[in-house]
């Protein structure tokens, strides 16, 4: 099962130096999701061979143009490609009317099943629940209503160690009771604690996408269980005042969010066009959180 994200856009509002506005193509437990859809997303998808047809869900964080101006072209191209697969869109209030209006005006009403869901999360809210993946929205703090998204791997809470079962000669029909936490009693009447049979599991993967936000105390609770965090880092900390004024974060603040959460890996992006080189932003974040990586367009990044 693949757990990785393709960076399609890494820049903030004003495209610069060949960098594009926000978009990520997420492969998560067999699902294909699009996170934000700035202008040119469909062209970036083509360029980096991300399959549009396989997308099942698009998640738009907020209605600043650099996060959604590409949705109209993408949806129109799906028409032209004779898409038949259903598509679900989650985005802020207002997006539904806008999409319908533009596509109608441009003579391209959608010809495939497309459900547009408007959300403005006030707390961590379940949006989509599949067999092996759950998707949640949660509030970010920006100049306009803005949702963050969490993609969480579901794993069986308990998995039994085959070697231990064989060592103790546990009959297969007793395995279920072990999983329920009932201890094992062997033929000699000896009680073996259930935990002894439990396999040590890696934490389930949880990817959080914080597109545009300034720091705020509740963020840490929303990020509970996160293993890979994408967090915007528009500015260097020398521009902290400007970051606050515009509802954004500095690289240091992004790293602090990672440090205060359970994240093992931090990806930063949404770089201001004032930075031709994003090296200094990564360097600044690494001083606080060493496992920091830059969102580089065209790069598939593993989610730990």
């Amino acid at each position: 099962m693949e757990y990785r994200v393709l960076i399609l856009g890494s820049n903030s509002a004003l495209p610069a130096y060949g960098r594009h506005p926000s978009a990520q193509y997420l492969r998560f437990g067999g699902h294909n999701f699009l996170l934000d859809c700035g202008e040119g997303t469909q062209i970036q998808m083509q360029r980096f061979r991300a399959k549009g047809r396989k997308l099942s869900h698009v998640f738009i964080t907020h209605l600043h143009g650099d996060h959604f101006f590409g949705i109209f072209g993408l949806l129109q191209s799906f028409n032209l490609l004779n898409r038949t697969e259903a598509l679900s869109i989650f985005g802020p209030p207002g997006i539904k009317d806008l999409i319908y209006r533009i596509l109608q005006l441009s003579g391209n009403p959608l010809q495939y099943p497309c459900e547009i869901n408007e959300i403005e999360a006030k707390e961590r809210t379940l949006l989509y629940d599949a067999e092996n993946t759950s998707v949640y929205a949660f509030p970010l703090k920006h100049r306009v209503p803005c949702n963050g998204f969490i993609f969480a791997e579901k794993r069986p809470s308990v998995s039994l160690c085959k070697d231990k079962l064989e060592e103790y000669g546990v009959h297969p029909h007793l395995r279920e009771s072990l999983r329920r936490g009932e201890d094992y009693r062997n033929e000699e009447g000896e009680v073996i604690p259930a935990e002894l049979f439990y396999k040590k599991m890696a934490d389930p993967r949880v990817y959080a996408y914080c597109s545009d936000t300034m720091p705020f105390p509740e963020l840490i609770t929303y990020l509970e269980g996160v293993t890979t965090l994408y967090h915007e880092a528009t500015f260097l900390n020398t521009e902290k005042a400007r970051a606050e004024e515009t509802g954004h974060s500095t690289a240091k603040q992004a790293a602090e969010a990672a440090l205060n959460s359970s994240a093992k890996k931090l990806i930063i992006g949404h770089f201001s066009s004032r930075y031709r080189d994003f090296g200094p932003l990564v360097k600044e974040a690494k001083e606080t959180f060493s496992s920091t990586y830059a969102a580089v367009e065209g790069r598939w990044m593993d989610l730990v």
Copy 2:
């Protein structure tokens, strides 16, 4: 004075092979105009160093997404760049409300003077009249209302040949009457026809932009005086039925429009994504009109 056009997008609706939807940056007699604005236009402008700040007018032919989905991002970026220069937009009915609605919803109402003019030309109609350039709209024939645009160089109708004036010893104060067509009478009373002093002038440059159209009889009258013609050539002539069905032209039909007009040069574009290589489209057009050139993205093309 520069007369050339930078191709920003050369593909039809579905972006393909790195080709983008329609847009051209036109330098014409000291003016900077944008013709159509498909998704990604602002990014293409950056890539090919076409200055947004210098744009005074944007002309949108029709409301199919591949001709206008880039306008929102472009206008928003002008905000972010603190533009103060005025901008005029000409486009089909409906565009004004749409632009205002989207920019308001995305929290970016325009902060510079921007006049949006809705037009649906029924005949050749003057839109803009500057000292050395006139811009006209005229109707094309497509699935939705669609304007073509003409950019015409203004030249003094008569220019006098310096050598001839010296040869005949014409006093400077008589030059104006010569320009008016009054014959010259020399000291011996001999009458010299005014035409003898007239310089042979090249035709004024006239660039016509026919974005999306099927052939129709009136086109030739709208193109009167054109010297360089851009005409869409979505399909090869083997797909003539498909072209007609979708309101488009074949390369052969584009060449026929050039041949029947006064054009000296034809540029074809809006290539269907079914053609990875547009060579065969150019070859087909050249069989009818030899001075045919492909719209190649990133290329500045001289207007004759």
